[in-house]
């Protein structure tokens, strides 16, 4: 499946992703240092004491010198120390939080693809029946609602109401046990994050399937006496997926950025919880680390989506 050309393509993309990540972090470095205010100044720490603290962190040096140091450290995989949580190295924090966000995002993507495609295929196969109407209406509701509304509603249902109704079954406990959470902790936020995108995938899959099912090669397959399941999955769905995969890239971005809000609502210790607070606190190195993490996540996800084309359509070669 992955030819030599594909591997070279992957290598090129990884180089480009690295450059993009460096570019993003450099831009953020300049941008965040231009913001007024900083992490160290406080009602207790000003005047000489403040200047000494700036000196301690090297923040009294010219910006270009700080940038050179930052770039050198960055190339060695070191994002520096937090200014708010004094002395705490950021690289392991960002790596850990990125892995949590990636985990939630990945499960959300599975929800998006799995639920969206299932809804789309069933709706297409049962066109203009009550099943089609129910699934299409659900899809419209799904992409009309922001993920934070869905998240809050789900917590209300599964985290509050169901406790007494089901004697604890399906009850959702807010929080994140351990480093990688648990199935019990991840399904609800993943659903909240993935459902709006799943609704879009469902609409596209339905439309695409309806078009493919009218094609001559499908009629031929039926005439040959192939089973309906084979026709649907091997011939129709595979062709119908090409336009769906095309939108998967932007949808994956929506899932990653949507995680900022959803992670906060569900108390998930991912990159999302750092996003706003690090900017507000002017915790320079954390801001740069978070944006660097997101840039890497977006780049790698896009690469993954692009490679899906090769899997789905053998005619595509890189």
């Amino acid at each position: 499946m992955f030819t030599r050309g594909t591997l070279i393509y992957i290598g090129q993309r990884l180089v480009l992703i690295t450059l993009a990540v460096l570019g993003v972090s450099s831009l953020v470095f300049v941008g965040v240092h231009r913001l007024p205010g900083d992490a160290l100044f406080s009602e207790h720490l000003h005047g000489t004491q403040y200047e000494l603290t700036l000196h301690h962190y090297g923040l009294d040096r010219p910006l270009w010198q700080q940038y050179v140091t930052f770039l050198w450290n960055m190339l060695h995989g070191d994002l520096g120390e937090s200014l708010v949580n004094r002395g705490v190295p950021i690289t392991p924090i960002v790596a850990r939080e990125m892995s949590v966000s990636a985990e939630v995002g990945m499960v959300a993507l599975i929800v998006t693809v799995g639920l969206g495609m299932s809804f789309g295929v069933i709706a297409a196969l049962r066109q203009n029946t009550w099943i089609d109407y129910v699934l299409s209406t659900t899809s419209v509701i799904g992409y009309s609602m922001p993920n934070f509304v869905i998240a809050t509603f789900l917590i209300l249902v599964f985290g509050v109401w169901l406790e007494n109704v089901t004697q604890g079954n399906f009850f959702y406990q807010i929080g994140w046990p351990g480093r990688y959470g648990s199935i019990g902790a991840i399904w609800l936020p993943a659903f909240a994050l993935g459902f709006p995108s799943a609704s879009i995938v469902a609409r596209m899959t339905r439309a695409s399937m309806l078009e493919i099912l009218q094609q001559d090669f499908i009629r031929t397959a039926r005439a040959k006496g192939l089973p309906t399941a084979t026709i649907t999955i091997r011939h129709a769905l595979r062709n119908a997926l090409i336009p769906v995969v095309t939108v998967l890239g932007p949808l994956a971005m929506a899932i990653i950025t949507g995680g900022v809000v959803v992670e906060n609502i569900f108390g998930i210790p991912g990159l999302g919880k750092e996003f706003a607070t690090s900017i507000l606190n002017r915790d320079y190195n954390v801001v740069i680390g978070v944006f660097t993490g997101y840039a890497a996540l977006v780049g790698l996800t896009n690469l993954g989506v692009d490679l899906l084309y090769v899997v789905i359509d053998p005619r595509i070669r890189y």
Binding site: F41, L45, Q49, N85, R96, R179
Partner: protein, 580 residues
């Protein structure tokens, strides 16, 4: 008669005490036997800045550290100064210049190292050399000035400290024997003992053997985060979780019943954390400096039958007011109509703006009468030394007719008050609501339109203290129970006024002289001088008093001993988990 702020606070305190008693007694349904699992769970919404007492800054840092470290003296739950590592609270010498501390001889750090007077000298010299936020708590000691100029940190500072380099050694700090510390002050300082009683700050003692293993990050690792307190760190994943365990055979009393304290740092949203508390995920909410519960959540919880008894509201030592910029020069760029060089008309304008605000209504509207009470007794909060007493502050009055009259005489054409902006930091919902309320009051009662200028907190504080705002939100949370904490840190030359570190820009020779006198006196003598300083602020109409804060806590009925006073959370070694 309208209830006074102190009365309201007293009612709240009684309510809080009742709540704590109920919590302790389990509301009638709770067993008094201890649970087999003595683990306390609570969240903090943001990781602590540091657990190094030399450089700690935030309330969270201090609330955690007070269970890991000790000082020579400390505050008890009623804010009295009591001995901690010292055998007794020392009295100053007749000239007020010398304190002699005798150390307990049975104290060990959690790694087994014995505490001696050398540890005290090391910790205080190190703290003075680091020049952290609370370094000035040691500023009365002879030699502090020279040490405060130190620029070395980390391993370089450790090397200097190890060889007792004069640049990092306060000459007023000596150890005549392993269990005696003599402190010589450069001038009498009535506030000195109070300042070093502050938990989680520069007065706390660290272990040189632990610090020198990793001078920059020793406090982040369980192996080196060593103190003399009843709890020690056993696990720390930054921004996710920190676990503490009780120190076996701890030297102090009461010995901890809790075996473990689990602090969750993974949730950074108050409402999410409260929802988790309600699900049973936490035993307490509000500990660690997060007692500013959202008003909406308080109202909702008050309305429930099963949880309202778990809500504890307690006055906190935080006051919020509006500050005027009264000094403008090249470095303080906010000119405005309120500066003192404009004489009586500026004074009258400030007074007009103060009298035009219905503060009682503000408290009812903004705080729903729950999370704050009207500030009627000056800027120093009730329950603190220096509180002036209920209804003593004339600036707290609401007199729209007089306000309008003053405005008309001081600014008949409206040109001076045109284009005014009120700056505030909107991260705290109360600040935003207060700003909108003030805007409507000035519009309705003075006919003056004031634009609102929301500025992010980190930018706002720096700009305000540099004199960038004509009129802005201001406030102070007391560090320790002494008026010096307020008058030294907010006005006058000592804090840097008029040019830096000063919200109002107010300074005068009279203020500086009287402050120096008051600071040098024992508290009983100094109170009248501090009262005169308060009167100077009132006479000059430097502020508009708004409210005193009230903290909110949620405590499960089975958590015995948990609670708060107006400053800090009850120590963890006083808490027990009952069977439930």
């Amino acid at each position: 008669m309208a209830p006074t702020s102190f009365r309201i606070l007293k009612t709240l305190a009684v309510g809080a005490a009742s709540g704590l008693v109920l919590a302790a007694c389990g509301g009638g349904n709770q067993s008094s036997s201890l649970a087999s699992d003595q683990t306390l769970n609570f969240p903090i919404l943001s990781d602590f800045g540091t657990l190094d007492p030399a450089v700690s800054d935030s309330e969270t840092d201090q609330e955690i550290q007070q269970n890991m470290f000790d000082g020579l003296v400390k505050f008890d739950e009623n804010l009295n100064i009591v001995s901690d590592l010292a055998t007794a609270v020392p009295q100053p010498s007749a000239d007020g210049l010398t304190y002699v501390f005798h150390l307990r001889q049975d104290v060990t750090f959690s790694n087994g190292d014995k505490l001696t007077s050398k540890d005290v000298l090391y910790s205080w010299n190190r703290a003075a050399a680091y020049q952290g936020s609370y370094a000035t708590n040691l500023s009365a000691i002879v030699g502090y000035e020279r040490v405060s100029g130190n620029k070395a940190s980390g391993a370089a500072l450790e090397a200097l400290l190890e060889k007792n380099d004069p640049s990092v050694t306060m000459t007023g700090l000596t150890a005549p024997d392993p269990y005696t510390v003599q402190v010589s002050l450069s001038a009498p300082a009535g506030w000195f003992l109070t300042a070093i009683s502050l938990a989680g700050a520069t007065g706390e003692i660290v272990d040189v053997n632990a610090v020198k293993q990793d001078p920059d990050n020793w406090w982040t690792k369980p192996a080196t985060a060593i103190g003399t307190g009843p709890f020690k760190m056993v696990d720390y994943t930054p921004k996710q979780v920190v676990d503490f365990a009780a120190v076996d055979n701890w030297w102090g009393s009461p010995r901890p019943t809790l075996k473990k304290v689990h602090v969750d740092i993974s949730v950074n949203n108050a409402s999410t954390a409260i929802a988790k508390y309600e699900q049973g995920g936490y035993d307490i909410y509000g500990y660690g400096g997060y007692s500013n519960l959202p008003v909406a959540d308080i109202l909702r919880i008050k309305g429930t039958s099963n949880e309202s008894g778990q809500l504890v509201l307690h006055p906190k030592v935080r006051t919020t007011w509006v500050t005027f910029n009264v000094h403008s020069d090249n470095s303080r760029v906010a000119k405005g109509p309120f500066t003192m060089d404009q004489g009586q008309s500026a004074h009258d304008l400030r007074l007009a703006f103060a009298l035009a605000v219905d503060k009682k209504k503000l408290v009812d509207t903004v705080c729903q009468g729950i999370v704050c009470v009207q500030a009627t007794g000056g800027l120093i909060s009730p329950t603190l030394q220096g509180y002036a007493g209920d209804n003593t502050d004339p600036l707290a009055k609401f007199d729209p007719a007089k306000a309008k009259q003053l405005l008309q005489s001081a600014d008949p054409t409206g040109s001076k008050t045109k284009g005014l902006q009120y700056a505030y930091d909107p991260e705290n919902a109360l600040n935003k609501a207060s700003a909108e309320f003030l805007q409507s009051q000035w519009q309705d009662n003075l006919g003056v339109h004031v634009d609102l200028l929301p500025v992010s907190h980190s930018q706002f504080i720096k700009a305000r203290l540099s004199g960038h705002y004509v009129i802005s939100r201001d406030g102070w949370q007391a560090d320790y129970n002494h008026p010096q904490d307020w008058y030294d840190n907010l006005w006058g030359k000592i804090v840097g006024c008029p040019d830096s570190g000063c919200s109002s820009g107010y300074d005068s020779p009279e203020y500086d002289q009287l402050l120096a006198k008051a600071d040098s006196e024992p508290l009983d003598q100094a109170k009248s001088d501090y009262a005169k300083l308060a009167q100077m602020l009132i006479d000059n109409v430097l502020y508009i008093p708004l409210y005193y804060s009230v903290g909110g806590f949620l405590i499960k009925p089975y958590v015995k001993g948990a609670g708060t006073n107006s400053f800090f959370d009850h120590y963890w070694n006083e808490i027990q988990i009952l069977s439930h």
